[in-house]
Amino acid sequence: QSVKIGVAAPFTGPAASYGENIKSGVETKVAEINAGGGINGTPVEAVYFDELCDPKEAATVAPRIVRDRAIVGVVGHVCSSAHLAALPNYVRSGMPVISPTATNVTIGEQNADRAGRVWSFRNVYLDDYQGQFLARYAKEVLGLERIAVFYENNDYGIGLKDAFIKEAAAAGLTVVGSEGYVKGATDFTPQLTKLRGGNPDGLFISGYYNEGALIAAQAANLGMQIIKFGADGLDNVDYIALGGAAADNTYMTVPFLAAAAPEQAQTFIRTFEEKYRRDLDWMSANAYDAMGMFAAAVAAVGPDRAKIRDYLAAIDAPEKAYEGITGPTYFNAKGDPEKMAFVKMVKDGKFTAAPQQMR
């Protein structure tokens, strides 16, 4: 017998690469636990469910996961909309979930059952936290004045952008233009051409690394040699691979910095990079930690969904925080995380810690 944890993510379709990230994080953690003799002697098994980041698929997968009594927790979903669609199932049938990536603010309002018990947690920052953080960082640390905003037209991009624009106004930044794009787009020149007209000195890319890299590259082609910054969505080696030289001078908030990471993280990073032959990304790191939290919960209260939920809900203060590789994490009453952000940048084709961090 083994302890089963469900992993719901897109493994096919346009968002499949995010699923791959999640899978590698989870796989590493599972291997690590099992190598250490499992949880109190029982091996852990991750069961993967493909949901294409599609709400309808997610809503179908959810009861499928719930049906398997051996599954005591779910790491997922990746996309907020899929998460929201699956949520009613988890809440109704009492299944604890930790999403390593779903950042939409609304989730915190939909995740409690009628008794007020929260079933869905996440160890990723919310959109508004990062958005606000970035606005202040741009003004105070980077010293920017005129910002062009380019956002992906999905929950993540919009949430982030809205928070940023709001805070930017408060911090005294000028937003010279705000343009959107859809997932999977490859041509951003029209929007960039338009943004260029506002003479920005900074470009806020509110989206993910795939498109972000192309945006950086196409901006460079249009002669926009400006500072780019974004949130954790940009944090992936592919950003540099796809963006090439244009990726330089990009700042991004990340949940953890290898340099600032605790000792246990260093081993993890090494194992990960050896196994997958690429730099660690935050999605994998968060997934690794989410899996870790479940492991800790099962170790403490046994493989019981309700008890695991109670265990997770009880991690509600800094002193009770779970010490993962992404730093200490604890949840507020809505199941949302309280974590701090680090800033990382691309310099000479490599990720390094930004010279100046901000509290």
Binding site: E20, G180, Y181, V182, P190, Q191, T193, K194, N221, L242
Partner: protein, 295 residues
Amino acid sequence: MLEQQLINGLTLGLIYALIAVGYTMVYGVIQLINFAHGEIYMLGAFFCVTLITAAGLPFYVAMLMAVVCCAMCGILLDIIAYRPLRRAPRLAALITAIGMSIFLQNLALIIWGSRSKPFPRTALPGYLTEQALTVGSVGLSWLQLFIFAVAIGMMLLLYLVIQKTRIGTAMRALAQNRTAAALMGINVNRVISFTFALGSAMGAVAGILVAIYYNTLYPTMGYTAGVKAFAAAVLGGIGSVPGAMAGGVVLGVAEALGAGYVSSLYRDGVAYAVMIAVIVLRPSGILGRAVTDKA
């Protein structure tokens, strides 16, 4: 800014046109909307990159070989999937096309993984990565010029093939009455295979150009491009090669202008709205001929 947007739109439009031509040709000959065409386009890019990175071939050689491979894939696709359905209802072939498209896309996903890949810049001839000219704020890169030249050249070539050569006339004849064409001594299957090969080759070229231009390729790239190109083909008058070209350019420019002046979020919306408007006003597309239904 308008000039820049027009150039951007034109580049995009010519690429759409190149893909659309493949749709239009196959449609013209066997009245099939070959939805798997977008996947051939994707395969073109992946073959090319794989040949460069894995086999270490120089760019032009890799490109040529990728195009040839795709042409063969097109022929295979026809033989395996569509030929058995020649006499079947049209929609059966359409569903088969969709099925093949899903199959190929997911096959690519398994072979190459889902991550976006960059195009190996270092393999490109140096000039392709440079800016050709900059007038004021308007820039035009060598790459864009290369795309213009290749796309327009290929389409001219294709037009000549269809209008002037024997096999081109055979394609047209076949399109109108397959039995009659056979009775003229035309080897129907061979001409259809030729059509697929030619269309797929154009698609592959487009895929490679896109991969260079945007410096990215991923297994699902065929879907959006395929859908847009299909729209372009219909917009131009489906079955008409010059029409596909016109449709592609109109769609590309509409998209760029839409993103630039209307709303970047409605960029596709503007393209589709223009398309609907054109078709409603000209029910047989820009260059399509009206169907005369003789009583």
